[in-house]
Structures are given as structure tokens and as C-alpha cells.
């Protein structure tokens, strides 16, 4: 009986420790506020209440905001990465390779920016902006898993990602 109680207590302690570690990890890993766009603005763009997860930059990795709005059977996502890059113009051009030949220059976003529709292989839509403000390189991806999303249509996606880009670049200046 005592043994069984000890085992249960041990299990409980381990479970508490695990939960504690998890929450500690979550606290270290995620902050509620994205530095470049607030949750309300992102929610407005994604068409509903969105949840933000922010990861600070670490060795060689950019800082990332992932803002998701999940519904019944679909997810809309706004993902922003920001990193410092010397020779930023070259880095920016390299990052543009993600767009292939589809990159369209975008006026009045940061120092320079381009956008393109990403090939999602038929699984929803995704638009990408690659831009920079001085020596800060940023990428913004806005996507939906819905094939015929009424909120993020091909047309509105371009307008919405432009708005998101203006918010991000504005906060990076």
C-alpha cells in the first residue's frame, strides 16, 4: 500500500516536473507579442481570432512569429521571419530564389521587397514577401489550407500580405 502510494507520489512529482518543464520551455520559447505586428492586426488580416507564437533569434536562426487562425478543418497562417544580415541586398536576392521567376517587385515596402505566389501543390494558397529594412532581412508568408478560401482569395491575399508587409517594415524602420 505504502509502496503503491510512493509510486503514485513519484509519478505525480514526475508529472508536475514534466508540466513545469513544459511550461518553462513554453515561456522561454514563446511570447505573446510579435514585435512586428500585433495579434489584433494579424487576426484582422487572417479573418478571425489568431494565436501568435514568437521565437527569438538564436545562433544562425531568424526570429519567427507564427500567427495562426484555426477553424474547422482549415488553418490560416501568417509567418514572419526577421534576421540581421550583413550584405543584406545579396541575402535578399538569395532569399528571393524561393520565388523563382515569379518575384514581382513591391513598391514602398522597406528598402526593397518582392512578392510571389508560392506553389502549394494544390493544397491551398500561399503568398510570400521577401524584403529588407536596412540590414534586416524579413520574409512574410501568408497561407491558407483551404483551396477555395473566401477570406484569403488569390486577390485578397496580395492586398493582405501588403498590409502585413507595411506593418512589419514599418516596425523594423
Amino acid at each position: 500500500m505504502e509502496n503503491s502510494l510512493n509510486v503514485k507520489m513519484k509519478t505525480l512529482r514526475l508529472a508536475l516536473l514534466f508540466i513545469g518543464m513544459l511550461s518553462l520551455s513554453a515561456n522561454c520559447h514563446a511570447k505573446n507579442n510579435c514585435p512586428w505586428i500585433n495579434e489584433a492586426t494579424a487576426s484582422g488580416l487572417l479573418g478571425g481570432d489568431a494565436v501568435n507564437e514568437f521565437t527569438e533569434a538564436s545562433a544562425g536562426q531568424p526570429a519567427v512569429c507564427t500567427i495562426t487562425q484555426a477553424g474547422a478543418g482549415f488553418t490560416r497562417t501568417l509567418r514572419i521571419t526577421v534576421e540581421m544580415a550583413p550584405d543584406t541586398h545579396d541575402h535578399w536576392q538569395a532569399a528571393l530564389q524561393l520565388c523563382g521567376k515569379n518575384a514581382a517587385p513591391l513598391q514602398a515596402i522597406g528598402n526593397e521587397a518582392s512578392m510571389c505566389l508560392l506553389d502549394n501543390h494544390g493544397a491551398g494558397l500561399a503568398e510570400l514577401v521577401v524584403g529588407r529594412v536596412r540590414d534586416q532581412l524579413f520574409t512574410i508568408t501568408m497561407s491558407t489550407t483551404l483551396k477555395d478560401d473566401l477570406i484569403l482569395t488569390k486577390m485578397s491575399l496580395k492586398e493582405k500580405i501588403y498590409t502585413a508587409s507595411e506593418q512589419v517594415a514599418g516596425n523594423l524602420f
Binding site: 500585433n38 541586398h89 513591391l106 529594412v133 496580395k158 507595411e166 524602420f173
Partner: protein
């Protein structure tokens, strides 16, 4: 989505900038010519609903009982919905809002306020697209104008972000700037650390239609957005009560007069409305230091000839408001139900900003801005005279007198630049960011440069020894505030602006080449760049942006021949000879060269013996020169020619004071005040006279009137504090005393300026009113004559 192609003007701007472009920048410039700009324009608007205006003079439409009831129902519903939304909004925003300046001051350091309790939800403001449906021309213009882009531009964001990121400040301090640049954000409670507001629309629209058109009253002319914004409304009901929010278009089109009542107020046509934001100060809550005047285009206008409120201007003009220049009526190209006879007042607010349309690719706005700057006859550039170095004789006015030049002659050229028709200073407002300067060149017949001042260096920076119409605000360490961190400004090391109606004399020295034959051409230009190169570098990074446009506002070229030069017929664009002398006199007066100024004004009266103002100019110069007897003779002569001259009467008042004729002094100043009730100088002097006469009541009346005209007048603060105390009004006395202490320049501030000037000899020379731009050297190769 539409594509905008940058016009050749932009490229011309880059070429004019005359500096090499590094590969990255060259690519940027190329790319800028073919960019996608998704900001919606008028083409994206819903077509306007059908509308046939009622014939002119026809009475407003009569509503049936059913129509009246429908409007009443709509109003009740709209009020309920707006109030509920506002309450809900406040429940979300208020708990986490940073009330840094206390619960009663949610918008401090801005002066903006809003009707009703608590923050107002951004959704209460009808969108620009809603207004644009019936006002497509206004919408199209507004979208490219500075007002709609007041917040989002990198030029603004970089500055305000510095304030937000500053460890001793933060976002709540940014309410000072955003009250004008993003008022819906401020009033909605977005300016707090953990904002709960969707910022997309109000950030992108800056000053939208329903910010200006919802203002209910102007709280004062203190600036910093000193307005009360009402709950936005597009229509009033039959009783004149405002219906909040958007209403169906058919309601508006049935009662356009009620729409006007909701959105148009008389003050929208007045300069005081513009003053709300085109006048700014840096208050103690922002800088933890003291009140510092940032800029005031409004007061500059009020002191200009265009206001007709100041009897002391050198010239006169028809009454013209800010709107008269910056909102000129023009033919419409898109449907706009606000148009009158096919024309609409401009919602482009054309002025000097070329940077924003350049960045956004708003080619039409850029083109019109450049046209505006060039076609306004705003400046007059006059290569007025030359003086051979070593001789006292001024050969002037150039073109009108004969003279002889020889090879190797060292020549000093007098360039007089007149702020002729700008209703404010050259350059106005944040002149730490803008750049206007004189480019002066001397070239031989083959185009070879003999002398060049005001060139651009390869990195785009302006020749540091150029004569520029800028300023240099400095910190308490004496460092130039290069990045518009206005809260760190403690002093201004120099300010070379030219006030409205005044002139400046810029002197250049050069030597004719020893082997020259033929002629040299001398050209003086006033160039304008928005913004300074180092500020653009702060925003985009050095060598990381295209060259921004440079606009030549005005210029003058003269040919100087070796040998004999004969008088010529004047150019039609030149000022008349008397005015050329008059402008020289004004500029010499401002350089404290009183004897030379009197000589110049004497030339004016020789050419126009019945020009009373010429004698008044002699009189006023002699007053400041403290030669009162001859001043009296000149003023008497002016009054003999024009007994009703308020300007001469004012100076006569000063001379009567000097002579101890108090009653005549009072009579003079009263006469001026009767003619010009908003003359701050006459009110001030009359107040002083009454004060000295111990007529406290009359003195109080004048100083209170003066404070109504200029709420920052130090003499008014000082004297009112004493007068209120004498009259047993200690609270008001203490308020005036506090304002005097806050607004008076810190006696220690000049030392900050000196710290800067000590290490910047080129600016130090510029800060001296009388200086020469010269590259002459003596036999040992050392500079001659200062520069």
C-alpha cells in the same frame, strides 16, 4: 493592383543629385521603375450612386413623415450601436492602457481630445472608401497626399520608432507625434505597449477624411493637435443633431445640405485649423526639460503680408490663407459630388514633400509637387551687384550700370534671395530634415568651372560650406540631432531660415582667371531636397537608397564680360530696381549692417520719392541703430506722404515713447490696433505703455488680447503674471508665471550651441549673419576673408 512607372523627373532628380550610384543602389533605381503598388486608388472604388443636384437656390427636399421616421429610426439604431461598440472597446482597451500621464490625460503629450467618455473605437470613423464613393476626385488626390500617408512612411516611422524604443521614453510618449500623424490610433487607445487594436486601416490611412471632417472645435492655436474630435458623422437630422457613423448614400443625396452641416465647418477654411498641427512645440512631458518651440507655420503666416494682420510687413498682398495656396481649386477628372462648377479644392495639399511620392511611386503627386515649387513665384533670386575686392564701390544693380572687369580681378558677388510669395519661412517646419540651399557657380565661356559653392559630394552630402536655409538643433552635449530625436533637443546652434517677405544677402568671392578673355557666367540657384542626405541615410542606410529628387525652385544667371559691361534692358522676371535696392536694404538690416541698409533704402526713395514705405524702412533701421533724430525725420516724411500708414504710425509710437510723449505714444498704438486688431506688436507695445502708466486695467486688456493672438508671447506671460497678482488673482498670476518660466529660453542653452559650433567651424561661420563664401587664398595659400 496597378503598376506605376517612375517618370523621367525622378531620374532627372538622380542625375541632378550628381553623385555616383553604387551597384545596389543602381539596381534599386532600376527596380523602382517597375514596381507593384497595391495601395488602392480611386479605380478600386464603387461607382458613385446616381445623383442629380437640385437647382441652385432650390430649397432643401421636404421629407414625408415616413422618411422622417426612417431617419429617426436609423439615428436611434446608429447611436445605440456606436455607444455599445464604444463601451465594449473601452472594456478591452482601458485595463491594459498605459496611463503614463494619469487617467485624465490619456493623450498627453498631444493636445487632442475626443467628444464623449473614454477612447473611441476606430470603427466609428467612416472609411475613406465610403467617402470616396461620392468624392472620387478627392479620394484619388488624398490617397497620394501627405495627409493619408502621415503615419506609414519610413521617414516618419524611423523617427517615431526611435522614441518608442528609447529606454527612457516609450510608446506613450509617441502620442505627442501621433496626435497629428495617426489621430485615430491615439484616440482609439492604440498607443500603448500591449495594443489590442487592429491597426491595419488607421495606420495606412493616417489622416483620413473623417479625422479633419469630424473636428468639432479648435481648442486653441497651441498646436500639437489642439482640436476636439467629435463622434464621426456624415449627416445631421432635421434638428441638426449628428447621426453617428456611415449612413446610406440615398439619405445623404436626398439632403446634401445636412451632409455639409455634419462634415463642413467654417473653421476648415481658416488658417487656425491648419495651426492645429502645423504648429508644434516640444513640451516638458515629452522632453523632461522645458517648452521648446518646434515650428509654427501658422504664426509665420500670421506675421506675413498674406494674413493682413501685421502692419509691419515690408510689402502688402491680397489676403490669402494656407488653404489659398495649398488647396487651390482645380478642374476635376473623376466624379465628385462636392465639386462646384466642375472644380474642387485640392486635397493634394501640394507643398514641398517630394520624398513621399517618390518612395510610393505617386508620379502625379510628385509631378504636381515639383510644378508647385517651381511655378509659384515664391522666391526671387537676384545677382544684385559686385564689388571688386579692395574697393568700397558696389557696382549695382547689376545689369543696370556700366562697369569694367579685368583678368585676375577678385570679385565679391552680392546675391539677394527674397522670400517673395511664400506665406511662411523658407524653409518651414522641421528644417532639420529638409534642405534648401544656394548653389552658386562661375564658369568661363567653355563651361569650365571657376568657382562652385553648394555642390553635392559623391556621397550625396551637401557641400558643408554651402549657404543653406536649414538649422542645427543640438543636444545638451552639443551634438547635432541628426535623426530627429526631438526630445533630446536643448538648443539650436543656428537657424538660417528666411522669414516671409524678407530677404537674405549671400556673398561669394571668386577670382577671374588671369588668362581669361570673353566672359564668365554667374549662376545662383535655390535648390530644395526633401530630405537631407544624412537623414535619408539614417532611414535606409548609407549608400542604400536611390538619390532623392532635387528641385530647383528659382535661379538667376548673369554674364560678366572682361572689359566694358554696359547697362541692359531688365529681364521681365526681375524685380524693379527700387525693389532690388529695397530687398538689399532688408537683408542688410537683418545682418545688422545698419549704415549700408540706410544707404540701400536711400536708393529706394531716390527711385520712388513718394514711396512712404521707403522712408519707414530708413526710420526703422535708424531706430534699431539708435539714431532717433534721423529716424524721426524719416518717419515724419513717411507720415507726410501717407498719414494713414499704420506701419509708420507704429514706429512713430516708439519714437514718441523715446521722447516721453506718452499720450501721443498711446494715440499711435491705439490707431494701429484699431486698424490691425491682431497686430501682436502693437498690442504688446500698447500694453507696455499702459503698464508704465500704471493703467493696469488697460494694460491687462492688451496683454490678454495679445495672448489670444499668440498664446506663447513671453511679454504677455510676464506682464500678466504681475498684473493678475496686483489685481488679487493669484491663481492666474501663478499660471502665467509658470508659463513664462517654462517658455523662456534656458539661459544655459547657448552654451550647448557653442559646444557644437566650436567643433563645426563651417557652421559657425554660417551662424554669423554677415559672412562671405570664398575660396580666395593669400600668397601663403591661407584662406582670405573668413571662408
Amino acid at each position: 493592383m496597378r503598376k506605376i512607372f517612375c517618370s523621367s523627373i525622378l531620374i532627372a532628380g538622380a542625375i541632378l543629385a550628381g553623385h555616383s550610384i553604387k551597384p545596389a543602389r543602381a539596381q534599386q533605381e532600376q527596380a523602382q521603375q517597375d514596381k507593384t503598388q497595391p495601395t488602392p486608388d480611386a479605380a478600386a472604388l464603387t461607382p458613385p450612386p446616381a445623383y442629380t443636384p437640385r437647382p441652385k437656390g432650390a430649397p432643401p427636399a421636404e421629407d414625408t413623415p415616413a422618411q422622417r421616421e426612417a431617419i429617426a429610426r436609423w439615428k436611434a439604431k446608429a447611436e445605440q450601436a456606436t455607444q455599445a461598440a464604444r463601451a465594449e472597446h473601452n472594456a478591452v482597451v482601458t485595463p491594459t492602457y498605459n496611463f503614463h500621464y494619469g487617467k485624465k490625460n490619456p493623450y498627453t503629450p498631444g493636445n487632442i481630445t475626443v467628444q464623449g467618455d473614454g477612447f473611441i473605437q476606430p470603427g466609428a470613423f467612416p472609411s475613406a472608401e465610403y467617402c470616396g464613393t461620392c468624392h472620387q476626385e478627392a479620394y484619388k488626390q488624398w490617397r497620394q497626399a501627405l495627409h493619408s500617408n502621415a503615419f506609414r512612411t519610413p521617414f516618419y516611422r524611423t523617427s517615431v520608432n526611435l522614441l518608442i524604443r528609447d529606454k527612457t521614453r516609450g510608446i506613450s510618449f509617441a502620442r505627442h507625434c501621433d496626435s497629428c500623424h495617426n489621430p485615430i490610433g491615439v484616440l482609439g487607445g492604440a498607443l500603448t505597449e500591449d495594443s489590442k487594436l487592429d491597426r491595419a486601416r488607421f495606420d495606412a490611412d493616417g489622416l483620413t477624411c473623417t479625422t479633419c471632417h469630424s473636428v468639432l472645435s479648435l481648442d486653441s492655436t497651441n498646436g500639437n493637435s489642439s482640436v476636439q474630435v467629435g463622434v464621426p458623422s456624415a449627416l445631421v437630422d432635421e434638428n441638426g443633431d449628428r447621426i453617428p457613423g456611415e449612413v446610406p448614400f440615398d439619405m445623404i443625396l436626398r439632403h446634401p445640405e445636412r451632409h455639409s452641416k455634419a462634415v463642413m465647418h467654417d473653421f476648415l477654411h481658416k488658417p487656425e485649423f491648419c495651426a492645429a498641427c502645423h504648429k508644434a512645440n516640444l513640451p516638458d512631458p515629452l522632453n523632461d526639460y522645458k517648452f521648446i518651440r518646434a515650428f509654427t507655420a501658422y504664426d509665420e503666416w500670421q506675421l506675413s503680408k498674406f494674413s493682413q494682420r501685421n502692419p509691419l510687413t515690408f510689402y502688402t498682398a491680397d489676403f490669402t490663407t494656407c488653404q489659398g495656396c495649398h488647396m487651390k481649386r482645380a478642374a476635376i477628372t473623376l466624379p465628385d459630388y462636392g465639386a462646384k462648377d466642375g472644380t474642387l479644392v485640392s486635397h493634394r495639399w501640394l507643398a514641398g514633400n517630394t520624398a513621399v511620392p517618390f518612395y510610393y511611386g505617386f508620379d502625379e503627386q510628385l509631378k504636381k509637387t515639383i510644378e508647385f515649387l517651381r511655378t509659384g513665384n515664391y522666391l526671387n533670386v537676384d545677382i544684385f551687384g559686385i564689388q571688386k575686392v579692395g574697393s568700397d564701390k558696389l557696382i549695382a544693380p547689376l545689369g543696370r550700370v556700366a562697369y569694367n572687369l579685368a583678368p585676375s580681378d577678385a570679385v565679391q558677388a552680392y546675391v539677394v534671395i527674397q522670400n517673395k510669395n511664400i506665406g511662411h519661412s523658407l524653409i518651414p517646419e522641421v528644417r532639420d530634415l529638409y534642405e534648401a540651399w544656394v548653389e552658386f557657380t562661375v564658369k568661363d565661356a567653355n563651361g569650365k568651372e571657376i568657382y562652385h559653392s553648394g555642390f553635392l559630394k559623391p556621397d550625396g552630402m551637401l557641400d558643408p560650406r554651402a549657404h543653406s536655409f536649414t538649422n542645427r538643433p543640438v543636444t545638451d552635449e552639443g551634438d547635432f540631432v541628426d535623426n530627429h530625436k526631438v526630445w533630446t533637443i536643448h538648443s539650436v546652434a543656428y537657424d538660417n531660415t528666411v522669414q516671409a517677405g524678407r530677404s537674405v544677402l549671400v556673398r561669394y568671392e571668386f577670382r577671374m582667371p588671369a588668362d581669361i578673355n570673353g566672359a564668365v557666367t554667374v549662376t545662383a540657384k535655390v535648390n530644395y531636397r526633401h530630405l537631407r542626405q544624412s537623414y535619408l541615410d539614417n532611414i535606409f542606410g548609407k549608400d542604400d537608397h536611390p538619390a532623392y529628387p532635387i528641385v530647383e525652385i528659382a535661379s538667376k544667371t548673369r554674364t560678366l564680360k572682361v572689359g566694358d559691361n554696359q547697362p541692359e534692358a531688365p529681364d521681365t522676371a526681375d524685380n524693379e530696381d527700387w525693389m532690388r535696392w529695397n530687398n538689399l536694404g532688408i537683408s542688410l538690416l537683418d545682418q545688422f549692417q545698419y549704415m549700408e541698409a540706410v544707404s540701400a533704402f536711400n536708393e529706394v526713395v531716390k527711385l520712388r520719392p513718394n514711396y512712404a514705405e521707403g522712408y519707414t524702412n530708413i526710420g526703422l533701421t535708424e531706430i534699431v541703430w539708435e539714431k532717433y533724430d534721423s529716424a524721426r525725420r524719416a518717419i515724419n516724411r513717411a507720415l507726410a506722404i501717407d498719414p494713414n500708414s499704420a506701419r509708420a504710425t507704429y514706429y512713430d509710437g516708439l519714437l514718441q515713447r523715446r521722447a516721453g510723449n506718452t499720450e501721443k505714444e498711446i494715440a499711435d498704438f491705439r490707431k494701429v490696433v484699431e486698424k490691425f486688431p491682431q497686430s501682436r506688436d502693437a498690442r504688446r507695445e500698447l500694453g507696455i505703455t499702459y503698464y508704465q502708466k500704471n493703467d493696469n486695467k488697460a494694460a491687462l486688456e492688451q496683454f490678454e488680447a495679445l495672448q489670444q493672438i499668440d498664446p506663447d508671447d513671453l511679454t504677455a506671460h510676464y506682464n500678466l503674471s504681475i498684473l493678475y497678482r496686483r489685481m488679487g488673482r493669484p491663481k492666474e498670476a501663478a499660471e502665467q508665471q509658470a508659463m513664462f518660466v517654462d517658455k523662456k529660453v534656458d539661459p544655459g542653452a547657448p552654451t550647448y550651441s557653442l559646444n557644437y559650433l566650436r567643433v563645426h567651424p563651417e557652421i559657425s561661420t554660417e551662424s554669423i549673419p554677415w559672412h562671405i563664401h570664398s575660396d580666395l587664398v593669400d600668397a601663403a595659400g591661407a584662406p582670405q576673408n573668413g571662408k
